[in-house]
């Protein structure tokens, strides 16, 4: 595929599902903010309309370190919207050190170098010139 054929990636729309301004402001500040239930002192991701632990709407947004361990890893090889120029793509589930999982891409190595158990740190994936999405780098690449 030539560069001319690469379609721009879809731009995620904030606040469509629940209020996510804090998450998106975090991406502008270079921080990963996730929903936190202060009643049970646990994070949850993706964001929900209530705490999945209590059913209450007492939720905050808190910064996580963005460090964690790869829990599951695949290499997506099939095209689709937003995938132009990104294949093959390392997709992982990371278990963050705060005790919550998040899916993301590994940015600093070839996909076949990614494996379960590896340590990762927060990185950023440029969706376009204005928006960077949370992603990960292998710590020992």
């Amino acid at each position: 595929m030539s560069d001319q054929d690469v379609k721009p990636r879809p731009v995620p729309k904030a606040n469509k599902y629940v209020a996510t301004d804090s998450f998106w402001q975090g991406t502008k500040d270079g921080a990963l903010l996730l929903q936190y239930c202060p009643d049970t002192e646990q994070f949850q991701h993706y964001p929900r309309p209530v705490s999945i632990y209590t059913g209450k709407r007492n939720l905050e947004w808190r910064k996580v370190a963005g460090t964690g361990t790869i829990y599951a890893a695949t290499i997506v090889r099939v095209p689709g919207p937003g995938m132009d120029g990104r294949l093959p793509l390392a997709v992982v589930t990371v278990e963050l050190d705060e005790g919550v999982r998040i899916m993301g891409n590994i940015m600093n190595v070839e996909p076949d170098a990614v494996a379960i158990g590896q340590r990762v740190a927060l990185a950023w994936d440029a969706i376009n010139d204005d928006i960077a999405y949370p992603a990960f780098n292998l710590v020992e690449a």
Binding site: R77, G82, M103
Partner: protein, 389 residues
């Protein structure tokens, strides 16, 4: 049990087709008319209807009511099942309850979908912000992740997954309803050489989205007898769970809802895994079949590969598996998928398996899987045990 005995007294299935150009209504009509013809039941006797939410028509929230108009029915009980591949087994279970409650007497559980012709679904929700940007656009990526974790914890012999595909393909070869382009023999080499979709998930681990429909007649044993229906099977146990471990942020994703359903359905029926005559697990991906073999206790957790390699899963074998090809080899008729393996189990127990008829038909175990959630395994699990009447 003092409860009234309820039976499945008929089934009907259309061809599985790809890009048929037809609608879910049209497939539903064909399955419905086929059910009336095969059971001899008059349309006017049908007073209960369960309809599965189809990908191809789900933009219409009133699809089930439109369906009653399409079929000319005036049901006193209507159910609209939105559990994807669990909607057929779940629909039968709900119809049984409705009949016992006196809400209807003769229910049709109808699933039809045509997503390869018309894709109308938009899952919305969190996906645009939290799933699509990382490249998880559909079930294969989630199942690639699940397979990777399974392999990490237990080891995975890909030849065993190939064997599941091949065993089911043998059924599709003699299934007149199977999608015609899938009706060719498979080898281990074919499986191994099929292209990677989402490592370690290969093309031949996956179903193909097609179009099709199926229908079941559910009524009391007494009513079935009064109507002269000689072939019936009894659902003697059913259990379901949705969002298993949904409030555990670090749940082991190799543990599935079936692990809690298995003791329930075995307890209710008095059967054990070794008593099961044929197994009809929901088979959107080969790894789901292997994980269910473990969860229902055909083998210990994590030993699915060894079990599959040591077991004849063919129609004349130790444990006949999805004897019509399952979705993997007959094609997945969208969200009518949950009725495909149920229809095969009923067909076998009615002795109508033709060239693929199995010998032991005293019981069958049928399951459903519905909806793929964020970074886990699957949303809804259903299990139903059928026993000879």
């Amino acid at each position: 049990m003092s409860e009234e005995t309820i039976v499945i007294a008929g089934y009907s299935e259309t061809l599985v087709e790809y890009k048929s150009g037809r609608s879910a209504y049209d497939f539903a009509g064909e399955a419905f008319a086929g059910l009336l013809a095969s059971t001899g039941v008059e349309k006017s006797m049908v007073d209960g209807l369960s309809v599965t939410v189809p990908l191809s028509e789900c933009a219409n929230p009133f699809f089930a009511v439109y369906m009653t108009e399409a079929l000319g029915l005036s049901p006193t009980w209507l159910n609209y099942g939105g559990m994807g591949g669990c909607s057929a087994t779940g629909g039968v279970a709900r119809a049984m309850t409705a009949i016992r409650e006196g809400m209807c007497e003769v229910a049709v559980v109808l699933s039809a979908d045509a997503p390869s012709t018309n894709w109308a679904a938009n899952y919305g929700a969190f996906r645009g912000e939290f799933q699509d940007p990382v490249g998880v656009l559909g079930p294969p990526a989630t199942f690639g992740l699940l397979m990777s974790r399974y392999e990490h914890q237990y080891g995975l012999n890909y030849e065993a997954l190939a064997k599941i595909s091949i065993a089911q393909r043998e059924g599709a070869l003699v299934n007149d309803n199977a999608f015609v382009k899938l009706k060719k023999p498979l080898t281990v080499e074919d499986y191994m050489n099929s292209r990677m979709i989402a490592d370690p998930l290969r093309l031949l681990d996956c179903v193909m989205f097609c179009d099709g429909g199926n229908a079941f007649l559910v009524t009391s044993a007494a009513k079935a007898k009064a109507l002269g229906m000689e072939k019936t099977v009894r659902p003697t146990a059913y259990a379901e769970i949705t969002n298993f471990k949904g409030a555990d942020p670090v749940a082991d994703i190799t543990e599935t809802g079936f692990s809690v359903l298995a003791p329930k359905v075995f307890g209710a029926s008095g059967l054990q895994a070794q008593d099961i005559n044929s197994f009809h697990p929901y088979d959107d991906f080969t790894i789901a079949v292997m994980m269910q073999l473990e969860d229902f206790g055909f083998c210990p957790k994590g030993q699915g590969s060894d079990y599959v390699m040591a077991t004849d899963l063919g129609r004349d074998g130790d444990l006949p598996l999805n004897t019509g090809g399952g979705q993997l080899s007959a094609g997945q008729p969208g969200l009518a998928s949950g009725g495909l393996n149920l229809a095969e189990a009923v067909r076998q127990m009615f002795g109508e398996g033709g060239a693929r008829q199995i010998a032991k038909t005293q019981n069958a175990l049928v399951t459903g899987i519905g909806v793929i959630p964020y970074a886990r395994n699957w949303g809804t699990s259903t299990a139903m045990i059928l026993e000879a009447s």
